[in-house]
Subunit: 203 residues, 2 copies
């Protein structure tokens, strides 16, 4: 009976496994109420190992946010940008789909964490702003600019704040986070916003 090993040594995979477990734990309990013991148990690992890869709970938290962010946002933005549709088709298609997805995605969880813990982690907020918000806003602005150059949008379209596209998405996100089971037709919300914006933008 070759006593099966108590654990495997997997130096490579541990950090990500621990970070994933931490993400789930933070998502459920929030930062303060999440125990490192829980994270470790979830990752199928001892508490001590967590501290081998992440010096402190705060480090782990930052790693989690960065991790989720880079893994998701790049993909999302990339496939939204590479398209040859007309501006209106693009807005009604890929962009709308993107906006619908975000409130249910892990990004929403990260936002919640940033809202509650942000003030005590200003560098994280900066990181998030530069890697998500700024890039997203920029993408929208470049898209509008392209529409204007193509003659699909009128020149005044340039004055529209990109945040106007995201406002209903934001509301939907918060709504879902807080009033989980209260109904809200978020699709219609974003649909209408897009209709209104197109009415303003189109040449």
């Amino acid at each position: 009976m070759a006593a099966e090993p108590k654990y495997q040594r997997r130096k490579e995979d541990r950090p990500r496994e621990i970070a994933d477990a931490a993400f789930e734990t933070f998502a459920e309990k929030g930062y303060a109420a999440a125990r490192i013991d829980d994270v470790a148990k979830r990752a199928g690992v001892s508490k001590g190992l967590t501290y081998l890869y992440y010096k402190t709970k705060e480090d782990l938290f930052k790693a989690v946010v960065r991790n989720v962010v880079v893994r998701r946002v790049d993909a999302l933005l990339d496939d939204v940008e590479s398209t040859e549709l007309s501006s209106e088709e693009f807005i009604r298609g890929p962009l709308l789909t993107f906006m619908r997805r975000v409130p249910r995605s892990p990004i929403a969880i990260v936002i919640r964490l940033l809202i509650s813990e942000g003030p005590r982690h200003p560098d994280l907020v900066d990181y998030y702003y530069e890697n998500v918000v700024a890039r997203g806003l920029d993408a929208i602005e470049r898209f509008v600019e392209r529409g204007v150059r193509r003659g699909e949008f009128k020149p005044e379209a340039r004055d529209i704040q990109p945040q106007l596209f995201l406002a209903p998405m934001m509301l939907s996100m918060i709504w879902r986070l807080v009033f989980t089971e209260r109904p809200l037709d978020t699709d219609r919300l974003m649909q209408t916003q897009v209709d209104m914006l197109l009415a303003q933008l189109k040449a």
Copy 2:
């Protein structure tokens, strides 16, 4: 030298004083990181006294939210409703002002607390929904309805979701909470939204 008293007994005022101090402390640190000792010190009171008026930290938290909510919302909604302006004037005037104020008001702080602590206090979330959100949405719906009956808005206006009015306000709130010092022209944001909505609503 009539040794001045160490404290005064003020049974009536203590609860509110403590709740106010708690609100400030929660606002600064969040629920978990706020210490009852801090709250007590801020209220100029001993830790023990806090526990005379509020059985637990959680009780205190709930009292704080309810307290802030009832004290603010009634006033806000009331003076928005009692007006004899035309629908458009009303939207461009009092409603816009209201929307501009909220993100800087204590309501924003309460929202932050609800976002982070909501999941563990479902009754608080219900309370907040019924006393703030539902009433606000309802007010908007009744307002639109009135506009339609007066012939100022077209009948399809009834299909507009009231949340569309609030979306940019929501975004402004979150923006301020997270990216405190990053600029965002929130006034213009809401102004444009109102313009777009009126374009859709007007007969």
